[in-house]
């Protein structure tokens, strides 16, 4: 009996699978046991024919056992370990060979790319075994440091290596570097909308969630997309976290350090967004991890979907439990929710009249419960400009990289200040920390007292204003939160009525 390692994916983790092969006499047949799915059961044909291309003729009854027996296994990535196990059993490759193998076989012996390269590399590092992957997976596997990994384009090449005839090149550890490529659209491309741009700068600096309200055609989507360009580039750790999720979903990897941006359509189900399914795949929320999740027309989403966002927005991770098991995925996102000011979209518009009744508007915003709105610190209103106003505007807007520089400076100030509190940015501030360490100046306190009555701020509303004001002060490089910062923060606190 021979034994080598393969793997199967469980969410964003790769789990080791021992592939045992035993050859007994009799007529030729291959049987695979161990809760394998259909793709694996069908692999016997691919394995038999691709081994045949190397001149290996199979005889007798071949039993393949995938252990642990009670773990459901899925995907064609077990083709390669099964083939290697059989080759070892028939003596084509030496007895002492061990390692983790993954890859799908083509009938001519080529290796096809599979999903899950990054998790596989983590597994190999953990087990301390060499990892053999298809050439197509080289980019993701080489992102993990301290792994002995090899990429091969076909099974013949691999066997030559294992027999010691021709060694493969060990993969080097490489990470994509931050490149100065422009993210489309750049902030300089967006005409006007100075208030919204300023708001997004604050959001990026303090990692505050954003709510965009504006008439159709006012440019909400464009602004949301541009936010990506002013966020600081992913750090090494963040990049690997993000790539691990992408890799587990089988999505192509990023070649730069820009943060993920996921735009989700409002017909999406809770499973698509939060993750789940039989094999517990991560959802959009996790794909946007360390980046931006954009929910356009948030009031059109199903209510259960919106409510499902509450816990992950708070905790930065999401636990998906299904009959087949449970998995926890990272889900630390900057949420941008956008919607119209009313169902027809023209409430408060200067040109077109709104045709909605107050009841319609109430119903429209009923979808957004208090707990969700409490997690969104910045409310930005996007005016729809008239042609005259558009022409009036100056064209020299700041570009994204200039803004990004300020954002990164403000972030490093926050990182330094909150070092001992276990948080990274102002958006994560708790009431307790804010009470003692916010740095509210005397005139700031007096200002808050003076407005309390006239603006009817609630407790939660107040803490949102305080967090945003802290970020505004950080952007300005001020140690204390002054009344001027608070006044600006007030302008972002939002509300949906446009009557004087």
């Amino acid at each position: 009996m021979s034994c080598i390692y393969g793997l199967t994916l469980r969410g964003i983790d790769a789990l080791p699978v021992e592939v045992e092969v035993c050859l007994t006499g009799g007529l030729f047949s291959i049987s695979i046991v161990g809760l394998a799915d259909t793709a694996i059961k069908e692999s016997r044909e691919r394995v038999r024919i691709s081994l045949g291309t190397l001149g290996i003729k199979l005889k007798g009854h071949i039993s393949v056992n995938l252990a642990p027996a009670d773990l459901p296994k899925e995907g064609a990535l077990l083709d390669l370990p099964i083939a290697v196990g059989i080759a070892k059993e028939v003596g084509f490759i030496p007895e002492g060979v061990n390692g983790i193998f993954m890859g799908e076989l083509a009938l001519d012996g080529r290796l096809r790319k599979v999903r899950g390269g990054v998790p596989a590399a983590f597994l190999a590092r953990q087990l301390g075994l060499p990892l053999f992957v298809p050439r197509g997976n080289v980019a993701d596997v080489s992102m993990v440091q301290g792994v002995e990994a090899y990429g091969c384009s076909n099974i013949g090449e691999l066997f030559c290596h294992l027999r010691g005839e021709k060694t493969l090149q060990k993969l080097d550890f490489t990470l994509p570097q931050a490149k100065e490529i422009a993210v489309e659209p750049d902030f300089a491309d967006i005409k006007g909308q100075a208030a919204a741009k300023r708001g997004l700068e604050i959001a990026a600096a303090g990692h505050h969630n954003v709510f965009l309200v504006g008439a159709p055609g006012s440019g909400k989507t464009m602004l949301a997309k541009a936010l990506r360009g002013i966020l600081p580039p992913l750090s090494d750790d963040e990049l690997i976290e993000a790539m691990r999720i992408r890799s587990a979903r089988g999505l192509p990897l990023e070649t730069d350090r820009f943060r993920p941006f996921r735009s989700v359509h409002h017909t999406s189900s809770a499973v698509a967004i939060c993750g789940g399914g039989i094999d517990l795949k991560p959802g959009e929320l996790s794909l946007a991890h360390r980046g931006v999740l954009f929910l356009d027309e948030i009031t059109e989403f199903r209510r259960d979907v919106i409510e499902a966002l509450r816990q992950p927005l708070e905790d930065g991770c999401i636990t998906v439990s299904r009959a087949s098991g449970s998995a926890t995925y990272p889900a630390s996102v900057l949420l941008i929710a956008a919607c119209n000011p009313c169902p027809c979209g023209y409430l408060g518009d200067t040109v077109k009249e709104c045709t909605c009744s107050p009841g319609d508007i109430d119903r429209y915003f009923k979808k957004l419960s208090g707990p969700i709105l409490d997690r969104i610190d910045l409310h930005l209103q996007i005016p729809r400009l008239t042609p005259e106003e558009l022409l009036e505007l100056d064209s020299d807007a700041e570009n994204s990289s200039a803004i990004r520089y300020r954002v990164m400076r403000a972030r490093s100030i926050q990182l330094e200040r909150w070092r001992h509190f276990g948080i990274k940015c102002n958006a994560e501030l708790t009431e307790r920390i804010m009470k003692k360490y916010l740095g509210l100046s005397k005139d700031g306190r007096a200002f808050l007292k003076s407005i309390g009555a006239s603006l009817r701020l609630t407790g939660r509303g107040l803490s949102r204003v305080l967090k945003v004001a802290r970020t505004i002060a950080d952007l300005a490089g001020d140690k204390a939160v002054k009344d001027s910062h608070l006044a600006e923060a007030l302008a972002y606190r939002g509300g949906f009525s446009f009557e004087r």
Binding site: A194, R198, A215, Q381, I451, S454, E488, L490, F498
Partner: protein
């Protein structure tokens, strides 16, 4: 009044559509309802209309008038009859006051000094804003706001009054139980709560084109001041204004641009002698009879005490109307961040508000 008499009035009122002069003729000879009941054919002497007579007999024989009274009672609609107690005496200024009014809602405001705010349905945003402001400020002073319940200026005037939690009265050109335009149903429900829906037409009357001009005389008659916000030359609001001026009711008109059709009529009526309404606060002061009188040109304290940057923005908004942050920052030559800061401060003082997504304007 006895129910029997009341029902006769209802019956007579329903003949109006066949013979407009009938009521006046009856009034001239001071015929009592009981006389008509005892000898229905007496009516013959006052009308030449065959149809009116036909209808008269039909009503009496079918008992329509009794059923009408019954359904009014069921719905809580009050009937106010000419020259009887409760009838708004201000209507007597009209040359042909309605025989009776269906009054659905509260009777408050009936004896008060009332202000009519009327205008076209197809108004500009400017007109809409001014109507809302007028409705709000007039109602805030405790005066009922009278209008026609139509889209545009009328609707905004009603809404403004409701926002100030004041009394507002909608005069219908249809039966009082009809909802025309139907989209305003929620508005009418709100008006009924605090003010009233009124009409001279029997329940169930649909909106015939000739009813609306006729209804306008009631709007004018109920009010002590009529304000036309925006009206083209041919419009119901102009009819209201003309009737008001003929009856000696104080008439005001909001000046509009002279090259826009929508304000041609309202401008013309200023030429004809209506007061131009050039400032809402002054208007309120003047109708209240406050000793300060006309306010424009007098020192306004609101802006005086503001710090210079806030004052600059406040005055800019007051002069130029609603602006986006871009425009404010551009015109005051300050950064958007500073503009937002100043707007936040002004808002906390209660001086400005967001009037649309991303648009700021002064509060009134």
């Amino acid at each position: 009044m006895k129910d029997e008499d009341l029902s006769v009035f209802l019956a007579l009122n329903s003949l109006k559509q066949f013979d407009g002069n009938l009521i006046a003729a009856l009034r001239l000879r001071s015929i009592a309802p009981s006389d008509l009941m005892s000898s229905p054919s007496l009516l013959r002497e006052f009308t030449n209309s065959e149809k009116a007579m036909e209808r008269w007999y039909e009503v009496l024989s079918s008992g329509w008038h009794l059923r009408e009274l019954e359904s009014c009672k069921k719905k809580g609609i009050k009937i106010l009859v000419f020259n009887e107690e409760g009838y708004p005496s201000s209507l007597n200024r009209l040359s042909n006051p309605p025989l009776l009014l269906y009054w659905w809602g509260r009777l408050e405001g009936i004896k008060k000094f009332a202000v009519a705010v009327v205008g076209t349905r197809r108004c500009s945003n400017y007109g809409r804003r001014i109507a809302h402001m007028l409705g709000f400020k007039v109602a805030e002073e405790g005066f009922p706001v009278v209008s026609g319940g139509a889209f545009g200026i009328d609707e905004k005037a009603h809404r403004g009054a409701l926002k100030a939690q004041g009394v507002t009265i909608a005069v219908f050109g249809t039966g009082v139980d009809q909802c025309y335009p139907s989209k305003n149903l929620p508005l009418f429900d709100e008006i009924k709560e605090s003010g009233a829906l009124i009409s001279e037409y029997p329940l169930g009357t649909k909106g015939m084109p000739w009813n609306f001009p006729e209804r306008n005389r009631i709007i004018a008659g109920l009010s002590d001041v009529v304000v036309i916000v925006e009206a083209p030359i041919k419009s119901g609001a102009m009819i209201t204004g003309r009737i008001a001026m003929e009856c000696g009711i104080e008439t005001w008109s909001v000046p509009g641009r002279i090259d826009e059709g929508v304000a041609k009529g309202s401008n013309l009526i200023i030429f004809d002698g209506a007061y131009p309404l050039v400032d809402v606060d002054s208007f309120i002061h003047l109708i209240k009879g406050s000793p300060e009188g006309f306010l424009i040109g007098k020192k306004e304290d609101k802006a005086e005490e503001l710090p210079p940057e806030e004052k600059q923005i406040y005055e800019m908004l007051r002069e130029k109307g609603d602006r986006t942050v871009d425009n404010i920052a551009g015109e005051c030559k300050i950064s958007p961040a500073l503009a937002l800061e100043m707007l936040g401060k002004l808002e906390s003082r209660g001086l400005v508000a967001t009037t649309g997504p991303g648009r700021w304007g002064i509060r009134f």
